[in-house]
Amino acid sequence: MSIVVVENLVKVFEGFPALRGVSFAVEEGEVFGLIGPNGAGKTTTFRILATLLLPTSGRVEICGLDVVRRAAEVRRLVSYLPEEAGTYRNLTGYEYLKMMAEVYFGSGREAEEALELGLKLAGLGDRVYDKMKTYSRGMKRRIQVARALMVRPRVAVLDEPTTGLDVIHSNAIRRVIREYARKWGVTVLLSSHNMSEVEGVCDRIAVIHRGRILACGTPDELREEHGGVSLEEVLIKLVGEGA
């Protein structure tokens, strides 16, 4: 059974249909990419998965739990990285990760392990003991990604984890996601508006545009089906058609 099931998901904001029947499924241990241009509905989809928004209609289940009716249980299983996530100015990266470890695991050995993992995933060296207001955009994002992954959720939902970062940081984050998902068997959903950013990371990709899924498959399948040399071309072709 799929670990994430999205079926006919519709979300209407004050008359504006941001999602018009989105369906996809994600298998356990997969790294799944939701790719589409700005305004396609990626953030809205992810926010519904993370129990932040309520769907207008349709069904979303994570580990067999309905995200609306069993929201509290879903929050134990899912960790979420918001788009453009910032940080607390006056906390150090270490304090932030420690706080999150305690929120999930209290103060026992489990919490210590989570913190240790978080520090490793962030990979900020001694800078992790500096206040986060001194961090660059990339460092902030690395702390946030580490925070989302270190609690070893069943599903990690990462909204544009590498958007707007320089090559060094975005590479580091992609590597962490890739290696981490393999090592712990965690299911990762991530979004991007840029195909080339996800090419080496995702096992499967869904292309979303104007609230609809236009295509879904492995990178190879997508290239084959839509006759593009690169995934970039596939995206342009699909979105151009959908426009």
Binding site: L52, L53, A72, Y80, P82, A85, G86, N90, L91, Q144
Partner: protein, 445 residues
């Protein structure tokens, strides 16, 4: 319920509360309003004291005055001679002006830098002879708008009056001093509302009570406003940085998230308010010492007049008010998508706090209608204002504990209502509506 178990504390409230306090305490901007309100009162005391000192010093400098004599009777000349004789001792430097008409007198007064001019008109001596009130015209010159300047010119009139009176009673064997102050008075004032007897007349007793009774409410309001702004900013930053979005996806219920923000702001506000209270105490020490010889420190009487029990109730009410102010601030901040909107929203809100606050500080609250009084006594923000005022001016009503329980209830209801709307869905909808209004008004985003 799992809510009060130790895991709720260790896995929910504790780490979140700790984060909240750290984030606030380490932010220098948080301290600005508290430091300002702590400094503003001693500085106010200095300013008031300094201007009082100025007035006292001004009293020691002789008044430069002019005299125009338009009556050549012997009696008038006698009065002038006496004036010139005793003038210096009474702090009046007199010059006789040789002018005709008020206009010319004014001209000369400006030339010579005089502060006032008295004109003895024709018939002055005659009136005196017939034991009627003689006419005199006085011209004052005001150069600055200092509050105490006008009283200086009056010194000439008082001197002139004494000289004339002396002349009127001459030969009766009665001294002028006796006529002017015929009674030896020992006064005491019983303040019925407090059931205390203080020495001195009623005017003095009322002044020494009215000053703190009006100032304490102002301090309470300043503190409340600081707390609202602090909590609003702290929460709006979470929206701006999208950290609130993270918090709302944690395996912690919304009530706990809200509570951690609330208690965090509350705790920091408490520390900040201590600063303000210290500033308030400093005010009462700075004021008299700056005013040189103002006499007894007002604080001493304040301390006697507000009993320990009343003080405890006021503190309890103040705690509830701080808590309420923090929850108001958090609601405002949660509804603001950025710090600027939070600032713009808390401005009018602060006005809503200040207007009833001012009203209470200035109005005679004891004579208000019962429903309005009950309301002011129950609302968490107005309550400590009115309590502290009435504790100083009168006595706390016997139902005070009830009122405090009421205001606690209002605060808790606010938090509960707030935790209901504390979902991203609702918050974003309201934020977007506010942002639309904001843009329609033409303000840049």
């Amino acid at each position: 319920m799992r809510r009060f178990s130790s895991s709720w504390w260790a896995r929910g409230l504790k780490p979140l509360l700790l984060k909240e306090i750290r984030e606030l305490v380490r932010d220098p901007r948080i301290w600005i309003p508290f430091v300002i309100s702590a400094l503003i009162l001693p500085v106010l005391g200095l300013v008031i004291g300094a201007s009082m000192g100025e007035a006292i010093r001004g009293a020691q400098v002789p008044v430069k005055a002019g005299l125009v004599i338009a009556d050549s009777s012997p009696l008038a000349r006698e009065v002038v001679a006496r004036l010139l004789e005793v003038g210096p001792a009474r702090g009046v430097d007199l010059v006789v002006l040789n002018v005709s008409g008020v206009e010319e007198a004014l001209h000369r007064a400006l030339e010579l830098g005089l502060e006032c001019v008295a004109v003895l008109p024709p018939g002055f001596g005659e009136s005196l002879e017939e034991r009627r009130r003689p006419n005199v015209t006085v011209l004052y010159v005001v150069r600055t708008l200092s509050l105490f300047a006008p009283s200086r010119g009056a010194r000439l009139v008082s001197l002139l009056g004494d000289v004339v009176a002396e002349r009127l009673i001459s030969g009766t064997g009665v001294s002028l001093d006796l006529v002017k102050k015929p009674l030896r008075e020992v006064a005491a004032t019983y303040i019925a509302s407090k059931g205390v007897l203080v020495s001195g007349d009623a005017g003095r007793a009322v002044t020494s009570l009215a000053l703190p009774a009006m100032l304490v409410p102002v301090v309470v309001m300043i503190v409340a406003v600081g707390v609202v702004q602090m909590a609003a900013t702290a929460t709006a930053v979470e929206n701006e940085e999208r950290t609130l979005e993270v918090l709302l996806t944690l395996p912690v219920d919304r009530f706990t998230i809200l509570l951690s923000k609330l208690l965090g702001s509350f705790a920091v506000a408490l520390i900040g308010s201590l600063l303000s209270i210290l500033g308030f105490i400093a005010y009462f020490y700075v004021l008299p010492s700056a005013a040189l010889s103002l006499g007894e420190p007002v604080l001493a009487s304040l301390h006697i007049l507000v009993g320990a029990e009343s003080l405890a109730w006021i503190l309890a009410s103040l705690l509830v008010a701080l808590f309420f102010a923090a929850s108001l601030g958090i609601v405002v901040g949660a509804l603001s998508s950025d710090v600027r909107i939070a600032g713009a929203l808390s401005g009018p809100l602060v006005m809503l706090i200040f207007i009833p606050g001012y009203y209470i500080a200035l109005a005679d609250t004891l004579s208000l209608g019962q429903p309005l009084r009950a309301l002011l006594y129950t609302l968490p923000i107005t309550q400590p204002v009115i309590l502290s005022k009435e504790a100083i001016a009168a006595r706390l009503p016997p139902e005070t504990p009830l009122y405090i329980a009421g205001s606690l209830l209002v605060s808790l209801l606010t938090v509960m209502l707030a935790s209901r709307v504390f979902t991203l869905e609702t918050l974003e909808r309201i934020q977007r509506a506010i942002a639309r209004l904001w843009r329609r008004r033409g303000a840049p985003r």
